[in-house]
């Protein structure tokens, strides 16, 4: 029952795929072992045997994965595969959900973030998050960015805060567009600008890792392109984990890609390899658009 994939051309990404060299067998198709290269040499975050449960629902099953330093890791997979859940486990955002349990171990620079003495407040300052829907505070653009700086006491003076706000907005590529109206409400910006404002807000507290949960799914293509450029640029200095539905986006912004399937991490590898030569048959099915 050999599967013979031909050359598949993705509609927008225009990436060519070579035929998988490995044989597609029932046995391999049923396997839920992670294949590829889930571990990195110099990881910023290491996850070992992570399981997440929502009540009785086993949402993440035995996931072990490293997030490499200063690179972008994309997480793809069909809806409900647990990629967002996994992302939210990385800065303990799942703690806020009733009935959510987690086992296993996640370390940030060798430190167990689920340790008893670990406080989520500094953790979330170190591991920032950008959400699916742009969610600026109903405050001015300036205050949106200054908020994190203020609550963590990262600046001594008003001028220092102003410097951080300007720097963050410049990094987010928003400075030119908003520098004349920093006192206007952040909610008055367009969707794409709001999302870049949220990214600026996240980098204002100088995190080490930035988590992005489908940051472009509520944006139009032009705004998406701007945010993707920004992610590419931020990837030079920051460790980024991004969940996305768009395989083209994963291909454009990430160095490594992880494929999740119904709570299992099936395959991790360099992005170009995942999209050109996937090992797991289900990965191949997904990226060639056979399901998902």
């Amino acid at each position: 029952m050999a599967h013979q994939p031909g050359v598949a051309v993705m509609e927008a990404g225009a990436l060519e795929f070579r035929a998988a060299e490995v044989e597609d067998t029932d046995e391999r198709r049923e396997s839920r072992e992670t294949v590829g290269t889930p571990f990195a040499d110099d990881p910023r975050m290491t996850c070992r045997d992570v399981n997440v449960y929502y009540g009785d629902n086993h949402a993440i099953k035995n996931v072990s994965l490293d997030i490499g330093r200063e690179q972008v890791l994309a997480m793809i997979g069909p809806s409900g595969c647990g990629k967002s859940t996994f992302l939210r486990a990385l800065n303990r955002m799942n703690d806020t959900i009733d009935g959510c349990r987690m086992t296993g171990e996640i370390r940030l620079d060798g430190q167990d973030i689920y340790a008893k003495d670990m406080d989520v407040v500094p953790l979330r300052a170190l591991v920032g998050m950008v959400f699916q829907k742009p969610n600026p505070f109903p405050k001015s653009i300036f205050d949106n960015i200054a908020y994190g700086v203020r609550i963590h006491g990262l600046a001594e003076s008003k001028s220092e805060i102003e410097g951080i706000v300007e720097h963050s907005l410049k990094r987010a590529g928003l400075w030119e567009e908003v520098n004349d109206r920093l006192d206007q409400p952040g909610t008055g910006l367009s969707g794409g600008q709001q999302q870049r404002l949220c990214i600026a807000r996240t980098i204002a507290v100088s995190p080490e890792v930035i988590l992005m949960d489908e940051p472009c799914s509520a944006l139009d293509p032009i705004a998406t392109a701007k945010v993707e450029d920004l992610i590419n640029e931020l990837g030079q200095d920051y460790t980024i984990a991004i969940v996305t539905h768009s395989m083209q986006q994963a291909a454009r912004v990430s160095q490594r890609t992880a494929y999740f399937h119904l709570g299992d991490l099936l395959e991790v590898g360099p992005t170009d390899q995942i999209f050109t030569n996937p090992i797991h048959p289900l990965t191949e099915d997904y990226i060639t658009g056979r399901f998902g």
Partner: protein
């Protein structure tokens, strides 16, 4: 022979008229309901205002008063005690009788003296105590007339009725008409109504005592129920674990909101007065009882307001590293505040209009003095209305309606405040 199958559009058309008719019917029903409500509202306002408006006016009579030194200060030493305890009633009687020198007979002479309000006695005393040089002076002063004559002047006494059915005999009406003819009768703004406490004489009765009682009570209620209610709502909504105990508390709070208010009065009597020994009839106890009554309303409104804050704002705050308390204080509470304030003001408005729980704690009292603090004996506006409506004098009914107008004005002002606050605190996201 089979009829040809109808097309979809034909089937839709067939039902269209019926559907449109149903829609029109429903719309008209709604309009009728709104109209009916408005009609009753207008009727209520017209009735209250037409009954109560005359109470803002009071009939005054100009009396020639002679502060007879023989009566006021027989010793002539201007001693305050003597001046204070003098028989001013004699001055009033002499003054009124001087207007009707022809009146003979004990009964008639007594009756004619009752033309001026009983408060005239105190008015004269106040004048003399304030300015002892008045003794021996002859002057003319305006004093309120007795409530029966006030009613006559306002046209509330039907002169065509047989004499026996009227509160005023032909003779009394004759006296009054003569005073009008002499230009000694005038209708003036009834400032007493807004400055005095309760009185047995309608022309001396005012709402200020009741208004102050209500004010002190609402101050106590607001300063206790708002912080308690908001804190409870925040704890239950944001911090409390979801388990049997919290759901039991939740059910009980919802039930408390539906408990008849008189039950809270019983509780107040048993706990605050009998157990804690707090003073009877005090706005403090009234405020505590009303706090118990408004707390469920504020908690329920507060929780609803907290739930309606979009989760994205919470995630944004937590995602940037805000602690839970920072998230709530900096982001959730400001967004929930309009809803909480609305709930609070609705609760306060309900408390302002509440009578039943106050019955139990002794605030249905005849209180003449204006309360100066939360522990003074006091009554409240709605209770005052209740008390006045209970009185037989026509003039008290009029004043009750006027008090209702004042109460309604307060309620409308509070609701307007709720709208203004909601607008001010409302932020879009």
């Amino acid at each position: 022979m089979a009829t040809p199958p109808k097309s979809t559009i034909e089937r839709v058309r067939a039902t269209l008229a019926r559907r449109n008719r149903a829609e029109r019917r429903f719309k008209n029903l709604g309009r009728a309901a709104v109209l009916l409500g408005l009609v009753f509202l207008v009727l209520m306002f017209v009735n209250i205002i037409s009954t109560g408006y005359p109470a803002f006016w009071q009939t005054y009579v100009k009396l020639p008063v002679y502060f007879d030194p023989q009566v006021v200060d027989p010793q002539g030493n201007r001693d305050r005690e003597t001046l204070g305890s003098a028989d001013y009633g004699a001055l009033v009687k002499a003054s009124v009788r001087s207007l009707f020198p022809e009146v003979e007979g004990r009964r008639d002479r007594r009756d004619v003296a009752k033309l001026a309000s009983r408060g005239t006695v105190f008015q004269l005393r106040r004048m003399v105590l304030a300015d002892p040089s008045l003794v021996g002076v002859r002057t003319e002063i305006w004093v309120p007339v007795d409530d029966d004559y006030d009613m006559l002047h306002k046209g509330n006494v039907d002169r065509t009725l047989p004499e026996a059915d009227r509160r005023l005999s032909d003779r009394k009406i004759g006296w009054f008409d003569r005073l009008i003819a002499e230009g000694r009768i005038e209708s003036r703004f009834n400032a007493t109504f807004f400055q005095a406490g309760d009185s047995r004489e309608p022309e001396l009765a005012g709402i200020w005592g009741a208004a102050m009682g209500s004010f002190f009570m609402l101050v106590v209620t607001l300063s206790l129920s708002f912080p308690l209610g908001v804190a409870t709502a925040v704890y239950l909504e944001e911090f409390a674990p979801r388990n049997r105990v919290t759901s039991l508390i939740e059910v009980n709070i919802n039930n408390l909101a539906a408990v008849p208010s008189i039950v809270f009065g019983l509780l107040g009597l048993a706990v605050f007065i009998n157990l804690f020994g707090l003073p009877r009839s005090a706005p403090l106890v009234g405020g505590l009882v009303l706090t118990l009554m408004t707390l469920p309303t504020i908690i329920i409104a507060g929780r609803a307001a907290l739930t309606s804050v979009p989760p994205s704002i919470r995630e944004a705050a937590l995602g940037i590293g805000a602690s839970k308390l920072q998230m709530i204080v900096h982001h959730v509470l400001p967004l929930a505040m309009p809803g909480m304030l609305t709930g609070t003001i609705i609760g306060m408005a309900r408390a302002l209009g509440e009578t039943a729980p106050l019955l139990m704690i002794g605030m249905v009292a005849f209180v003449v003095d204006i309360p100066q603090s939360v522990t003074d004996a006091a009554t409240a506006l709605p209770v005052q209305i209740f008390l006045w409506l209970d009185s037989p004098e026509r003039a008290f009914v009029e004043r009750a309606s006027a008090a209702i107008m004042v109460l309604l004005a307060f309620l409308i002002a509070m609701n307007a405040l709720a709208i203004v606050l909601r607008r001010r605190f409302e932020r879009r996201w």
